[in-house]
């Protein structure tokens, strides 16, 4: 058995062995901030989400530590009601019995952070659902499609030049392991969609609106890239 386990790393594709979370490329001070729950500002939103959960969600879903454990690791998932893939924030936003929350509103970010926090440390586990495959393929196409006045695709930075520097910042490998996360530049919590919009305006492309299907498709593709990596929500990034 031990022999087989020793062989296991050799069987994984080379790219998998080199996958890095954005956490690995951060300064030690920022890593310490994320590790310490009393210094991680993202935990303020988790606390807020916990209060919202107790008010609205707990009556059906009970203790989130049990009912929501591992849920965030499986998103984006297939939504039978709309016949389309949906991400975690979208699922929470459309939920019945609760007031509808706008994308990127503090309430939705807090609830998403709280739910995703229940899966912290668990491996990202994208569902093997054939209905998701076309959307995931579109996400992969969007990832490699050049866009904006700078005519750059996601892949040109995050695959070809990952680990190198864009001005003072290290270009990460596009593994969304800690969303929603506290970004020091934002001075607040933000979603993966906000991060994607930041990249799009960065290459002077017109970003999609919040909640657009294109974002969910890219999220699907990125979740597959990061499959098996540990969730860090709420992460801290520079």
């Amino acid at each position: 058995m031990r022999f087989l386990l020793a062989l296991l790393p050799l069987c994984l594709p080379a790219a998998a062995a080199e996958r890095r979370s954005g956490f690995d490329d951060m300064a030690p001070q920022t890593q310490a901030m994320q590790r310490d729950d009393s210094a991680n500002p993202g935990m303020l939103w988790v606390l807020e989400g916990e209060a919202l959960w107790a008010r609205g969600c707990a009556s059906c879903h009970g203790d989130a530590a049990l009912s929501m454990r591992g849920v965030a690791a499986r998103y984006p998932a297939w939504d039978a009601a709309t016949g389309a893939p949906i991400d975690l924030a979208g699922r929470i936003a459309q939920h019945q019995g609760a007031p509808r929350l706008a994308r990127e509103s503090q309430g939705l970010l807090a609830l998403t952070a709280f739910v995703a926090h229940q899966s912290r440390g668990l491996p990202i586990n994208p569902p093997e659902d054939a209905r998701l495959a076309p959307a995931r393929a579109r996400g992969a196409a969007l990832y490699t499609q050049r866009r904006g006045q700078l005519d750059l695709s996601c892949a040109q930075c995050h695959d070809d030049h990952a680990g190198r520097r864009l001005a003072g910042s290290t270009i990460p490998q596009a593994h969304p392991t800690g969303y929603p996360l506290y970004r020091l530049e934002w001075q607040g919590l933000g979603s993966l969609q906000r991060r994607l919009r930041g990249c799009m305006t960065g290459v002077r492309a017109e970003p999609f609106a919040y909640g657009a299907a294109e974002y969910v498709e890219i999220e699907l593709f990125l979740a597959r890239r990061a499959a098996g990596m540990a969730l860090e929500t709420p992460a801290v990034r520079p």
């Binding site: 009393s38 210094a39 020091l184 001075q187």
Partner: protein
């Protein structure tokens, strides 16, 4: 009420030097930033932080617009007697929040 993260020991021996860590949710809007329409957002910051230990002021801080959102403060105090640690943040727009923790010195 703003969310607060506190790391304060509940028990200590006399003479122990305790590390107090506080993090409070606050936008710390500087009063200099124009929004998308060019309208400058009015200042909304914390102005003052006070920590008292059994009624005695052990730490005070004045905040300025240059301080980032969700200010994190850490400082030390020497445990001498059992008492209440009171943390108070005051700011613009009538912001006033107080948190208390009991410290038992054995």
């Amino acid at each position: 009420m703003a969310r607060v993260l506190l790391n304060i020991p509940a028990r200590a021996y006399p003479g122990d030097i305790l590390v107090i860590r506080t993090l409070i949710q606050h936008v710390m809007e500087t009063g200099y930033r124009p929004d998308a329409d060019g309208v400058v957002a009015p200042r909304d910051i914390l102005r003052r932080f006070t920590c008292t230990y059994d009624g005695e002021v052990v730490m005070e801080a004045d905040f300025s617009p240059a301080i980032a959102a969700n200010p994190y403060l850490t400082f030390t105090l020497t445990a001498t007697r059992t008492g209440t640690i009171t943390l108070r943040w005051q700011g613009d727009n009538g912001f006033d929040q107080t948190e208390t923790r009991e410290l038992v010195v054995v």
